[in-house]
Symmetry: C2
Amino acid sequence: MTRKATIGDVAKRAKVSPTAVSRWLNGGLELPETTGERIRTAVRELDYQPHAQARRLSKGKAEAIGIVVPDISNAFFALLAGEAERVAVASGHDVMIWSSRNRIERELACFDRLRAGYIDGLLLITNHEDDGRLAERIRSMPGRVVIIDEDVVGGDSAPRFFVENETGGYEATKHLLAHGHRRIAHIGGPKGVMSAIERAQGWRRAMTEAGITPDPAWHIRTEYEVEPATRDAEQLFALDPLPTAIFAGSDAVALGVMTTARRKGVSIPHDISLVGFDGMPINDLFGPPLTSIAQPIDDLGRLGALRLIAMINGEKFDGTPTRLPVQLVARGSVAAPLKNKVSG
Amino acid sequence: MTRKATIGDVAKRAKVSPTAVSRWLNGGLELPETTGERIRTAVRELDYQPHAQARRLSKGKAEAIGIVVPDISNAFFALLAGEAERVAVASGHDVMIWSSRNRIERELACFDRLRAGYIDGLLLITNHEDDGRLAERIRSMPGRVVIIDEDVVGGDSAPRFFVENETGGYEATKHLLAHGHRRIAHIGGPKGVMSAIERAQGWRRAMTEAGITPDPAWHIRTEYEVEPATRDAEQLFALDPLPTAIFAGSDAVALGVMTTARRKGVSIPHDISLVGFDGMPINDLFGPPLTSIAQPIDDLGRLGALRLIAMINGEKFDGTPTRLPVQLVARGSVAAPLKNKVSG
DNA sequence: ACGCTTTACTAAAGCGCTTTACAAAGAGCT
DNA sequence: AGCTCTTTGTAAAGCGCTTTAGTAAAGCGT
């Protein structure tokens, strides 16, 4: 294999110095047309391409950002990361997407990459309670981190973008109440996770306003993933009397509920109504189509990436969180409860 | 912001040369415990972390690979990339995942990154017909590229991993035939795409063996995405008589068919049976659960990544394609055709 | 006391690029 | 003619690391 052409090879062939080639290519030097043409020809003939590593070392910038998500094969995160990537690429940054699989070590590894100059900034999407290490890393890298979707306690030095979780939980529950439900259970995200806390608060507030004191057994916690939710939903189906409706803390959780319902021979929405949270486009295709609180996933990804890039370019921001609105999308998984169906 | 510690700072504090620090850290130098301890302390106190760009420039390796997929927010590719990533990370490589959005320019950009030394190898997952440029790049980077899932004509210098597309199409069609269907339509992937061609061949072979000559109108092509498939499926629902079954070239296409069926008031599987291709785990949750030809997605990603890393480490391979088996997963989207239901 | 081996390191070059500082040659002005 | 200004470049340093080649000192056998 022939050695790759370097800037020196180009310079030699164009009969100028490497300096001239570099500066001319990067727009820092005006040269007469004949000289420019010689360089252009040399570049073409040698198929020259600057060595990324060298250029980055020299410039002191990686021209790249990283995106950590809990799991890239989860459609929600894939959508989020996809949108963020689009924005970053458009501004000339390379993008690395990493799955943390909810292992904090893998998240910390991304901070190491940041410190190592491998990326200029990090878009952090995390899903689990922090033990303090994440918060510490965030503080130690000011202007380099943007947090999306889920808070990190103590990470408030970084810009953060969330949705109106409490409102979402409230609206979901109101929707079920409006259909006549009273025994509304909530299966939400794990302990210590902001979105789970806020969505549960919204649920509780709507219930209280309706004059209902939720039975503690109606509130259970699970992971935001299909598998664990499928398992943990069992508890709900063991209750007597059964809840007539379930507000699931995410669409993945709702899918878990659907799976368990199917296995138990419980029909949705005939026997139990179900509302999810996320508003994934695919919800439309489930049996039944899933009513859900839609998050502005694109905006979340886009705004986060834009903010990160602005910071990399030197703009200053504080950690005031931005809250984006959510919206109920009614589909087919909610009906009136059985007992009320006729009597109203 | 205080400057980041360099290897020189560590050396000074430990009262040794940078050489010693580098070699000791990288395991190339035995040192007495006291010296080692001094270095260890210095590293800790300065919170030293080698500069990735510099190390990579120096070593002439990026210790990273890239994965291009058509669209990371497509669950199939997300699964594929996720598995490949896991393998690569386990072997100490950084992973960059890029979405090409089926733009060949974006795929070529990934080859540029390869040439620029930004990554050591590329896992290529492409979805559309090549105009020759892809094949040329693949040839020009021997031992650096592995192709997965979909062939590139002329890219046969690189290792390739595909599934048994023809068999899959055959099995899907046989399954429908076994349920008594005769008017079996096929809505498959785009022209010039290997998997689409092979799956269609399987369909055609099963039909022919059953003594049926497929009406040309029964075979239509679309993109492997939900949106276009939703649109293009219209043609199938405009036929008279309607097909009694549809073999969709991918699960995304099947989803599109389901969407259109729903809109047209056509019930699956009551009025029309449906078989997809991919075997996405989520198929279980659709209404109805989707019968599909399952691909070994994990294996595809894993084997591809392993092969790529082996090549980076100097092993030689030729372009003999590896074919992985597929398997029919029967769920609820296939029933006997209406007219045959009673008469058998 | 001599050479040989081992231990414990180091100096310097080099990876390929960018950037700062500077210079030669000509043009224009007084 | 002498001066400044512009044009057209170049030399050299430096980014932070690895690696090659080597060396001073200590230990060892005879």
